[in-house]
Amino acid sequence: MSNINGKVYAMNAITPMKPWKTWILRLIFFVLGHVKSLQQDLINLSFIEFARWVVVPRGGFPQLGNGQEPEKLTYDYLLFFSNFNGTWNQYIDAFSAVLFKGLDLIWKWSEKFPGSVPVTIFKEYIGRVQFDTDYYFTAYPHATANDLKAAHSVQASFDDLRSRAANLSGPEFADAYLNFVLQVQPYLGETGEAPVVF
């Protein structure tokens, strides 16, 4: 069992919601999905590679027959899965400090959600509703979300220069290369083993 693989942490959380409230939450997610500017804080935090919320209606757990007993539940459930860089504490702290409005909007419909501020009580709640990952795979364990964005920026600049290089004279290429170096120099950080957290 490990929630961590390389530089990524897998968080799983499940919270109960009264069924009538899930429709409000679905509406909020619908708006969030269609108004990209509302995702800006999430994008700017830039340490989440992938995240998802899944509303499971009380009758929505997969039923396959074959002797499987149907679920009889009172609540709908909100599942949350996140793939983020850094430590658990850093993640929750950043969420609480930057995304508190968004978090409250999403989780206020869950039973006994205390609010994302103050952070200590919020962390207690997350600790209660979180469950551990048994197996975690990443295709690029040594890269963070920022490393990936940087690599794609370098690739784009590199592809641009290579498309022109063969047709440039030496001095013209030197100028183009200088511009290329200026473009990519913020994006040449080293990927590698995750730092040890003390």
Partner: protein, 214 residues
Amino acid sequence: MPNNSGKVYGLTILSPIINDDRATPSHDLQIRSYLAGLSTGQDSPFALAPGTHLARLVVMDDVVFVGAPAVEEHLNSKYLIFESNCDAGPDGSIDGYLNGLAEHAAEHLDAIWSHCVGYPGAADRAAFIRYMKACQLETTFFFAAINDKSVPETLRALQTQRAVADFIESHQGVEPEKLRAEFLKLVSALDAAPLPTVASAIVSRDIKIGGRNE
């Protein structure tokens, strides 16, 4: 479609685990035991099959009781959660990805999902895909920091980034003609280089990096 974000697909599958009192150890423990020994490196089932950025497998024992006055309730089944962030097909579908898993990692899939209710095996591809879709939940909201790049494109970009950093470092002050020729050599070398292996270890370079990091 909420499962899709650009070229990336947010696959969420909950497979009910067989609840059999006579099984020793219980089926959920057998899954956990298998997963504990399963490689997360180059021979991971998700590395053998194409298209997985990040994926996890989780045995969910029960729902959570958050305390009174909430109602305490329990699931009748345990569930195996399969959460994958993977490349979608050209039509945005997941069929190609599931087919790839069944083709390249059937042995592992069978070892894991044979403890789940109604699992037909990976050998019958159509039945396998039908089963996975029967267990699939629609993702309500899916966020991907980068949603327009496939796994091979990302691995290639990381390789290019590394090569470019080395090139710039070793070509400072080089004459323009020679610089151009060397750059074109780099282009050819990268074109000829094999795609880096998924989930592979990176050979560390002799670069001084920061100290403690909290």
